[in-house]
Amino acid sequence: MKYCQPDEKGKYGEYGGRYVPETLMAALHELESKYNMLKKDTNFNNELKEHLRDYAGRPTPLYYCRRLTELCKGAKIFLKREDLLHTGAHKMNNSIAQVLIARNMGKKRVIAETGAGQHGVATATACSLLGIECVIYMGSADIKRQHVNVQRMDLLGAQVIEVASGSRTLKDAINEAIRDWVTNVNETYYCIGSVVGPHPYPMMVRDFQSIIGIETRSQFMEQFGRLPDLLIACVGGGSNAIGMFYPFIDQAVRMIGVEGGGAGLDSGKHAASLCLGRIGCLHGAMTYLLQDANGQVLPTHSVSAGLDYPAVGPEHAYLKDTKRIEYTFATDQEALEAFRTLSRYEGIIPALESAHAVAQAMKSSQNMKREQAIIVNLSGRGDKDLDIIAGEL
């Protein structure tokens, strides 16, 4: 049966939905109908395609890692080079599209949250491109560890608002962005950066990121005349993963999502919501959530700010339960090793987020046949992480 999610209420099985204050409900319905209209609109699609090609640099290459494969002595490892997209990560696919929607809706102001800063930079960039005011919420812990991206947003003319509540990371930046949106809903567009939040965001962000999987599929087919054997991507909220996986969902291709394992799953210091969470409701969606026995959201840890999030996109929750996608984790240490290995063996410095996927690819490759092929979504580049690396390696 053909995969067809979400349902008309924005639910993926029991996950997803729209659990937000009443004040936002009308805006979500308006966005949903606008999106359903625009996705069939030729002008909108042509403009988006043009920006993605001429401005963002699509298509991105599919690259075969010869030396890394030799090192692993197993299945061939390929990288989908989203790190080469303008601003250095896959986030741009979504930001350009959503800021175009914002302009179409006549919104004068765009707000966004950011963890690692990549979504903030991408949204600030898209807003510069289209001449719209931009406000970015970022946790103070993330501002500290990803300060290069704060400087970039500043240069791009966005206002970065520091969020000092709660765990001072991505979760709290989203809380504050939601509060801003509740307050300024009429003139403001909220550009969510991952497949999280209330419907239609998880669906919309998935659709915009699916360009990754669509290109990958045709690039691989063209070169090898068949489908790859295994796809791997890191999962924080899960937008790069769903973007890679979704176009393959009805095909016989194995897929693994890799969560931030932090100091290990028994340490309590991790961000592995699919591996260890239980069903709950955060940021407008029912999903797997790291929470205590009383339903309070737990603090998370990952060396990578982009994976440091206690929930996960609701579609991933559904795909885990249906066993269509396998979910595992890589620890901080494994990610750092993969970071160094990829840099040394291939001359590609990955984002720490993406390094989690690389770590899993190296493990998987060793247990697979040499004629098999693994494609890793290299979702971002690692320049932003050099300070963290200097402290950790």
């Binding site: 729209r18 204050p21 004040t23 409900m25 805006a27 009429n186 409701c281 009383n294 339903g295």
Partner: protein, 267 residues
């Protein structure tokens, strides 16, 4: 033990007395587990007609800085849904108590267990700010079966068809969010608020309550013709933080619900 009045009885009685219902919000466990219940008793003696007790949640997206702060302190003080309900069983609060919390702590305890515990603790109603009407599914029915009112929120941004649905499904009263925004004290009320309250009034015979941003007795005086009750929240949390006399503060608000001028003309 004397039976508590139902929420509907409270509104009927206030109506007979030609006054408005005053609902006082407190964060359970703020400033700590014991003093929170002392504050409730003070609010009662100051004239609170209903207590809205907020169970703290780690990520309160509908709340402004004041209630975020009280929630954080309350969590640090060990306030959980379970322990608050346990204390409520013996708290001897005379006025109806309504529990306000986000969906996640409720899901965590499980719905059938939740309703059982709420009944045991003599809670009269439930407000869940992140459970909008179309996601509520069978919550209103299940609440009714347990003699609990599931109180729904209406917002100034809700289009008429949503307001119809909300006024139809909401039990006890309609919680009208008086401003597009989060909870918190405000100097001035939204000038369009009377229009919104009148619109809701035209759709239902149920009681209408204004909340969010009601910060002074004057706000109540201004809005008295348009609503049957008022919720005061962040102002009370600030009063607790400033060591003000809660009984007096509440009495000031209660007096505003009674003043003769501006007595309801279209209620």
């Amino acid at each position: 033990m004397k039976a508590q009045m139902s929420i509907n009885n409270v509104f009927e009685l206030a109506n007979e007395k030609k006054e408005k219902v005053l609902i006082i919000y407190m964060t359970a466990g703020f400033p700590d587990l014991d003093r929170c219940f002392e504050m409730i008793r003070e609010a009662e003696s100051g004239g609170a007609d209903i207590i809205e007790l907020g169970i703290p949640f780690s990520d309160p997206v509908a709340d402004g800085p004041t209630i975020q702060y009280s929630s954080q302190i309350a969590i640090e003080q060990g306030a959980t849904l379970s322990c608050i309900l346990e204390r409520l069983e013996n708290a001897l609060i005379k006025v109806p108590v309504v529990i306000m919390t986000y969906l996640n702590p409720l899901l965590s305890i499980g719905r059938s267990e939740l309703f059982k515990r709420l009944v045991l603790s003599r809670v009269s109603g439930l407000i869940i700010p992140d459970l909008p009407v179309e996601m509520a599914a069978d919550w209103p029915v299940a609440a009714k079966e347990n003699n609990l009112d599931l109180i729904m929120l209406a917002a100034p941004t809700s289009p008429p068809e949503r307001l119809q649905e909300i006024t139809l499904k909401s039990q006890g009263f309609i919680y009208c969010v008086s401003v597009a925004g989060t909870t918190g004290t405000r100097q001035q009320l939204d000038e369009n608020l009377p229009v919104f309250l009148r619109q809701v009034r035209s759709m239902t015979n149920k009681s209408i309550v204004a909340g969010f941003g009601i910060s002074t007795p004057d706000h109540i005086s201004t809005l008295k013709p348009y609503a049957d009750g008022f919720i005061v929240g962040s102002r009370i949390i600030n009063a607790i933080r400033n060591n003000e006399n809660i009984k007096n503060v509440v009495a000031g608000f209660k007096a505003a619900t009674r003043r003769k001028k501006n007595v309801s003309c279209d209620a």
